[in-house]
């Protein structure tokens, strides 16, 4: 009885949909509502608190930084909250002229005070923002964040007037416009945040749908937990005429198979990503919808460097050499990824140092030198998530290692939050993981390995490494800068605190009706340009 009751809508579905000539997706396309698969419930919507890609997808539709990503040119920046900007000769002083008609979604003007407020907020030590290091490029930003400096007026952000913002940097940063596209650099509405709490109070109600105010092309309409987040057109947006969509609906669907099946059933415009098992199938069945694009990111395995068993560099190197990356890509991840020889994804002028390779013989030789044999095996646990495919991925490493090396590997799967927690606390032995770049510059992959960085999570640090990065930052000649960064990466890779596996691709399904969606290596397509047409 109960089973029949549960099944009845499922059984009726084909009949219901056949009565209806229009598929759900056509209806949404007509109404210009974009349906986006967004993996999981976001941890929050406060641009200065969150750290994830899931949150970023929603926040980029709600808020707007000084510059906006160009819809098709990954290196291009378009006017956002700033109408124009200029820098001095060595890129250490920048002036941003804000839009004169820039408005928050409640009609209040967006002024330099909102930017100053946002930057003071994220850099305040009391606020403890995890991503505050993104603003360390601002002169004295790091000092203020670490509490060495109490007075925010000494930090290099100045309001010349309500619409002119001056930013002083600690070093020449020609890619500052790219940084301002990242949500950590977004303004927040001073009047709304203060109406719901103090500046440094976390998780107040200002991000709730009834109170949230934003300056982007869209504003928050509904937030139903584990169901959907919907944003609608912001009538006060300065460039409202460009915005084509009436609304965007984000669906938190963690299961990649469910997500793909929803797409097959015409219930979604864009999926987040495809599970490896679905890639071949979708490539054949949905050739027009199938997307496989370069994604600026690297997947790697971390060592817990504080453990005695991983102190010997030969052990770490052997574990890295034992992995046949191409085989993993061809047979396990299947997304056409590129075997990673280093940590920095290939970009522009920068060529990676190329240390990580496959060499089984050298691997067994090194581990024998380190004193391990079949009688004295190295035992460790590989931590991974409970996400789809994570187990098969981890089992492939387990098998590769155990086949050539005298090791005994067990796999531990943890739910996402507890996995993150174990990584942060260095409560693991080895763990799979990855990093998606925030801006198109090698430092987005190199800065995180500094001592004390919240994303390091290996316990590895090196003074020499940080010195090289510091030197590179001050270098005025781009070629010299790249040479120094490469030197730093080489140093890092030779120490093997991580095992690079592959450089990402983004593999997903995109419905035909979505227009103006171009491949971008950061996958930060600006929603304001996207259109829906049958």
């Amino acid at each position: 009885m109960r089973l029949a009751f549960i099944l009845s809508p499922v059984l009726l579905m084909p009949f219901l949909s056949s009565c209806d000539k229009e598929s759900p997706i056509d209806k949404y396309t007509e109404k210009k509502i974009l349906i986006v698969g967004n993996s999981n419930e976001p941890a929050g919507l406060d641009p200065q608190i969150v750290t994830g890609v899931i949150e970023s997808n929603i926040i980029t539709s709600l808020f707007e930084g000084l510059c906006v990503q160009h819809p098709s040119d990954s290196g291009g920046s378009m006017p956002g909250a700033a109408a124009r900007w200029d820098a001095n000769e060595d890129f250490t002083e920048w002036t941003f002229h804000l839009q004169k008609n820039g408005k928050w979604s409640d009609g209040m003007p967006v002024t330099t005070a909102d930017f100053l407020f946002a930057y003071e907020r994220i850099l305040s030590p009391d606020f403890a923002a995890k991503y505050s290091s993104m603003l360390y490029y601002i002169k004295n930003g790091e000092k203020f964040n670490k509490g060495e400096l109490k007075d925010f007026s000494e930090v290099g952000v100045k309001a010349i007037d309500d619409y002119t913002l001056k930013i002083f940097l600690r070093a020449p940063i020609p890619f500052l416009p790219h940084l301002t596209k990242h949500y950590t650099w977004y303004p927040v509405p001073k009047h709304t945040v203060l109406a719901h709490g103090t500046m440094t109070e976390r998780n107040t109600y200002w991000t709730a749908p009834e109170s949230m105010v934003s300056n982007g092309p869209f504003k928050l309409e509904t937030w139903k937990f584990n169901d959907r987040i919907e944003v609608i057109r912001n009538p006060h947006y300065w460039d409202a005429d460009t915005v084509k969509l009436n609304a965007i609906r984000y669906l938190p669907i963690g299961n990649k198979y469910t997500e793909a099946r929803m797409f097959f059933n015409d219930q979604m415009h864009v999926t987040e990503r495809l599970a490896p098992e679905m890639i071949g199938y979708c490539r054949d069945r949905y050739p027009r919808e199938f997307r496989q694009e370069v994604y600026l990111g690297c997947d790697f395995i971390r060592f817990n460097m504080t453990l005695e068993k991983f102190k010997d560099v030969r052990v770490r190197k052997a574990l890295s050499l034992a992995i046949d990356r191409q085989l993993i890509i061809d047979k396990v991840t299947k997304g056409g990824e590129e075997p990673a020889q280093g940590i920095v994804s290939p970009m522009g002028e920068y060529k990676t140092a190329g240390i990580a390779k496959h060499n089984a013989e050298l691997a067994s030789q090194l581990i024998a030198e380190a004193g391990y044999s079949d009688g004295n095996k190295l035992k460790f646990t590989l931590l991974t998530t409970d996400r789809d495919g994570a187990k098969t991925y981890a089992e492939a490493f387990q098998d590769m290692w155990q086949k050539i090396l005298p090791v005994e590997v067990s796999i531990e799967q943890r739910e996402w939050k507890s996995y993150q927690d174990m990584m942060s606390k260095l409560g693991y032995e080895m763990t799979t993981g990855g990093w998606i770049g925030d801006y198109p510059d090698p430092t987005t992959f190199l800065d995180m390995w500094k001592k004390g960085d919240g994303n390091n999570r290996t316990g590895w640090h090196s003074e020499e490494y940080e010195k090289l990065l510091g030197k590179a930052e001050l270098a005025t000649d781009p070629a010299e800068r790249i040479r120094l960064l490469r030197q730093a990466e080489t140093l890092f890779l030779n120490e093997h605190p991580i095992v690079p596996i592959y450089w990402h691709t983004s593999v997903y399904l995109l419905h035909d009706s979505v227009k103006n969606w171009h491949p971008l290596p950061l996958r930060n397509q600006p929603y304001k340009f996207i259109d829906l047409k049958k």
Partner: protein, 334 residues
């Protein structure tokens, strides 16, 4: 097959209750078929791997290439999703592992979980139920209210918590000292991470068993032969063990056969949720979970384990039904 004539002869010889039941069971075709299916599955899961491992080449690569019975955890990424062939009888899975051997090893684990957890729950449940049923009314209602409270708690959540708790303590056990005798070290190595699961399922799965046992005791203790025993001045414990427990055996066996499949299902659910058997080992639950991802692309990985799993559950249920009819003819007439 016994004919009427033979049966008549047996009557003259005098017939025990057990052989009576056996005769009734044999008349039930579904139960007989179920027994045959179960015996076959047990033989396949426990004997075939032993035969296959005997004389197998030591080098896993050579073994995977030549021997008929494969190492269930040996991957060959160059041979993923291979269709069934003379070499891989049921084909290979997403990591190029032999599905046939994974199915048999997975069966070992699933069947063991069913049997061990059932044994634990029978021992605990029958003891608890019998004591409650034969004690004074106050003790009885106190004991049964405890059962009611435990009933109210979500079983799966408790099992997960409990098995995590035990496995923390088991970590010290999982590396056995060198001087333990071989069998134990083999057993501990192979099933160490399963012991918490066995204990957790068994320790929390006895509640229904306790209720059934108590009802039986309540029923039996009012009968004349118990009154006779009481009037003879026997001790309570003697009455319980000598007179009551033996008379409960029939219904308890029936209920036990029906419990085994439910525990196998629990293991499958737990493995599906990612608690339970450790990678890269398989169980039927794991095979089903992994297979469900390939519904569109390689349905074989889902269908094959589903068939074996359903077959086992059906057989156990039919056997349980048959046993109930055979051991408790009165109940079946209702």
């Amino acid at each position: 097959m016994p004919t009427e004539k033979n049966a008549a002869k047996d009557v003259i010889k005098g017939q025990s209750l057990w052989s009576d039941a056996w005769l009734r069971l044999k008349k039930n075709h579904m139960a007989v078929i179920s027994m045959a299916v179960l015996a076959l599955i047990f033989l396949l899961c426990f004997i075939l791997p032993a035969i296959g491992n005997f004389n197998a080449p030591e080098d896993p690569a050579v073994r995977a290439a030549e021997h008929w019975f494969k190492n269930p955890n040996y991957q060959n990424l160059n041979n993923t999703f291979a269709p069934p062939s003379g070499h891989h009888w049921l084909g290979t899975d997403q990591s190029g592992r032999d599905l046939f051997s994974r199915l048999l090893y997975g069966g070992q684990i699933s069947l063991l979980v069913g049997l061990v957890a059932t044994t634990i729950s029978v021992i605990v449940g029958v003891a608890y139920g019998a004591i409650a049923g034969y004690s004074s009314e106050r003790t009885d209602s106190l004991m049964m209210r405890i059962v009611d409270i435990l009933y109210g708690l979500p079983f799966l959540v408790l099992v997960i918590l409990f098995s995590l708790l035990i496995s923390e303590h088991m970590k010290e056990l999982s590396e056995p000292p060198d001087d333990v005798w071989k069998w134990e070290s083999v057993f501990v190595n192979k099933y160490a991470n399963l012991i918490p699961l066995f204990i957790a399922i068994g320790a929390l799965g006895w509640l229904t068993m306790a209720r059934v046992a108590r009802a039986q005791v309540m029923n039996i203790k009012k009968q004349d032969f118990i009154e006779a025993a009481v009037s003879l001045g026997l001790k309570k414990s003697t009455i319980l063990t000598r007179h009551i427990l033996p008379n409960m055996i029939g219904p308890m066996i029936v209920y036990t056969t029906l419990t085994v499949p439910s525990f196998i299902l629990t293991e499958a659910t737990l493995s599906y949720l990612g608690v339970g058997v450790q990678s890269p080992n398989s169980s039927w639950g794991i095979l089903l979970q992994e297979g469900s991802r390939y519904m569109e692309t390689n349905a074989r990985l889902l269908i094959v384990p589903s068939i074996v799993f359903s077959l086992t559950l059906f057989a156990l249920n039919f056997l349980g039904d048959g046993l109930r009819d055979a051991l408790d003819p009165k109940a079946s007439k209702d």
